[in-house]
């Protein structure tokens, strides 16, 4: 689990071009959206692409994404349960 969390942090930084951040700057339990990382609706859509590309998980829409992208830990749990690759 911890390994997956670290992997996700690195993937998020790369996919969303968070160039000034390192994995250590992202709290696995903090909300990904709203305050904090300053992510927006396009980032949410890009995370949907990341889930499919990296883990073979297809999320239907942005609303489904909102549930999954609550925090890096929630994302990791979802990936563990649903990954197809």
């Amino acid at each position: 689990m911890d390994e997956l969390i670290e992997e996700l942090k690195a993937s998020i930084i790369e996919a969303l071009n968070l160039e000034d951040l390192t994995p250590a700057d992202i709290d696995a339990d903090a909300p990904l959206f709203g305050e904090g990382l300053g992510l927006d609706s396009i980032d949410a859509l890009e995370l949907i692409v990341l889930m499919e590309r990296q883990y073979g998980i297809r999320l239907k829409d942005a609303a489904a994404g909102r549930q999954v992208f609550q925090s890096v830990r929630v994302m990791a749990e979802y990936v563990m349960a649903h990954r197809t690759k």
């Binding site: 969303l16 160039e19 927006d40 609706s41 859509l45 890009e46 949907i48 692409v49 590309r53």
Partner: protein
């Protein structure tokens, strides 16, 4: 006020042409629209692996045949499908205008409105069609075939508002004497590129769309071309005309006049519309300063049937006090025809108004915006001789509105007669290899190329992490704007600035991001990226700068055959038509790839309005 009658150059509609899947004869298409027909249907491809797409698609053989008939001398040439559909519309419009067109071809300007032009030709890793990709190349070919290449053809590429922005530009250039007539043509061809971009944005509906309805789920892409011939006229000529058999006693003439136009920015987000309808509200207010004053026939709205657009538009209409004017969206009939939409939907609204009708909003079910609009699935009566408002909004936070009237006195009051004098202020040059100068003084920098922009961002700009998300064109424009505004006092938090316009000119526009997006939709690696797709609209850079600096005045993006400083200054000048504007940021931005770019930026100050 001084007497404007003597020197007002009014702008009249002299001819129109449309090419849609429901036909290419305006009367016939209008009847089909009112009869509830829709061009929307599922099509399998060639749009990628994710199954059929509901869209409106032009018949290729029909367009080819119409092109060969309209332009026989060009039939053996190598015009693309996109160029052919545009030329068919141009041919129709010119034929319709022939009887009344007095402007010389040397004084007639071609303005092409498109978002993605020949992008269907783009293939990942294949540079074969490179020369055909920049939109100015299409404009040049269209102008040449139509015999309109004496003046440099212009391209307006402002995402979804392009067709309205092109009308606004044409009005100002004719009214202020740059040209005597303009042929405004809007067109876009649907392709895997565009379809999968919208898919990545989760914006597509899997059934014919339902604008403003409670059960709306998204938009449908569409294909069309539409052209209008706009020509200078004078109040005196109209008075003579109206005194003849075509006039009537109400003071309304036969001719439609483009009375007013406004472009604004939300300064909110590059893809999401303002939640308060800020830009659309401002655009509506600019063309309807009197609100609902009993002179309006209808609002032809954008009405894409996405959740956020329609809510935003309803809010803007209410804020402008126009909620009791009958309104329509044509997206359920033609889909979102992108570069054509502003022109096509304006022409059909004018057609309806001539018949005292507001066209139906095909697909409308039950009201679904928090603030209600007067939208109906059937034809509504329109105020006789009332004016028509066309509203659009788009990615990059841009909004545009035009007002058409048949009452010369209205047009005389609102048509600009001259533009205020401009003085060039601070000037910034950025070159990927040559470095940066501000007012001729070089900046000391240790890097070149893409890294140089990051170095400037880190050393001279306020922290703005979105910089790292931007593509090369936006980074270049962002840095140019930072350097142009260095030393200015930032407005208080939340204060919007309506005193500064942004005009971006380029040749190859978003081509670097176009290529990058293409690489995300190759068959064995099919993961269309929304974050890349959004930057395939060249006007996004205007939105990025507007958001950073809270600029809500006019923003515009023009693509030119080559850099032309005199023409750029003229285009920057048109952005001063709005009286609130006291300075214009004029940016020439050319960034064909990550390692070759050039910016030439000037901050112009308006002397006095």
């Amino acid at each position: 006020m001084e007497n404007k009658m003597g020197h007002t150059r009014l702008v009249a509609l002299a001819g129109a042409g449309i090419v849609t899947p429901l036909g290419s004869d305006t009367d016939g298409v209008y009847d089909a629209l009112c009869a509830g027909r829709t061009a929307l249907a599922p099509h399998a491809g060639p749009y990628g692996p994710d199954g059929p797409v509901v869209l409106s698609r032009l018949s290729r053989p029909d367009v080819e045949a119409a092109f060969a008939a309209a332009w026989p001398a060009a039939a053996d040439g190598d015009s693309t499908f996109f160029e052919k559909m545009a030329l068919v519309a141009v041919g129709q419009a010119l034929r319709q205008a022939a009887a009344t067109l007095t402007a010389q071809p040397e004084r007639t300007l071609l303005i092409l409105s498109s978002t993605k032009g020949n992008t269907a030709l783009l293939r990942a890793g294949d540079g074969a069609d490179d020369a055909r990709l920049p939109l100015p190349e299409s404009a040049r070919r269209i102008a040449h075939i139509a015999g309109l290449d004496a003046m440099t053809p212009l391209v307006v590429s402002d995402a979804c508002i392009s067709g309205v922005a092109a009308q606004v530009l044409a009005q100002r250039l004719i009214a202020t004497g740059y040209c005597d007539a303009a042929v405004v043509v809007g067109a876009d061809e649907q392709s895997a590129f565009i379809i999968n971009g919208f898919r990545a944005f989760k914006a597509l509906a899997d059934a014919p769309c339902r604008p403003f309805s409670a059960d709306r789920t998204g938009l449908n892409p569409g294909e069309a071309a539409a052209a209008m011939v706009l020509q200078v006229t004078t109040p005196e000529a109209l008075a003579t005309n109206n005194g003849g058999e075509d006039g009537d006693k109400s003071g309304c003439g036969r001719l439609w006049l483009l009375a007013a136009g406004a472009l604004t920015n939300d300064a909110n987000h590059i893809s999401g519309p303002s939640r308060t309808g800020e830009g659309s509200f401002r655009a509506l207010t600019a063309v309807c300063p009197g609100g609902d004053d009993g002179t309006l026939a209808m609002l032809s709205l954008h009405g894409t049937a996405t959740l956020y657009n329609d809510d935003m538009e309803a809010q803007a209409v209410h804020r402008a006090g126009l909620q009791n004017i009958p309104a329509c969206s044509l997206k359920g009939t033609f889909g979102h025809t992108m570069g054509a939409a502003g022109v096509l939907e304006t022409l059909l609204a004018l057609h309806g108004a001539e018949r005292g009708c507001v066209p139906p909003t095909q697909g409308f079910t039950t009201p679904g915006t928090p603030l209600p609009l007067r939208v109906a699935a059937s034809v509504q009566p329109a105020r006789p001789d009332g004016d028509v408002i066309k509203l659009m909004s788009g990615f990059g936070g841009c909004n545009g509105a035009v007002r058409w009237t048949r009452r010369p006195d209205v047009a005389v009051a609102t048509t600009p007669t001259s533009l205020p004098a401009l003085t060039a202020g601070r000037r910034v040059e950025i070159d990927s290899n040559g470095g940066v100068t501000i007012d001729g003084t070089p900046l000391t920098l240790t890097t070149r190329g893409r890294d140089m922009l990051t170095e400037i961002y880190r050393s001279r700009a306020t922290a703005y992490p979105k910089f790292y998300k931007m593509d090369i064109l936006c980074r270049l424009g962002f840095i140019a704007a930072e350097l142009l505004t260095e030393g200015e006092t930032a407005p208080a938090d939340g204060t919007l600035r309506n005193d500064r316009a942004i005009v971006v000119c380029s040749h190859s526009g978003s081509i670097a991001s176009d290529r990058q997006f293409c690489h995300t939709i190759v068959p064995d690696h099919f993961f269309p990226s929304p974050a890349v797709f959004v930057y395939t609209l060249p006007n996004i850079v205007t939105g990025e700068v507007a958001i950073r600096h809270r600029y809500v005045a006019e923003t515009a993006c023009y693509l030119l055959p080559q850099r032309d400083d005199t023409l750029m200054r003229r285009l920057a000048h048109t952005a001063c038509a709005e009286r609130t504007v006291s300075s214009v940021m004029a940016l020439w931005l050319e960034a064909p790839d990550d390692t070759h770019f050039h910016a030439s930026a000037t901050l112009y100050h308006v002397d006095t309005h």
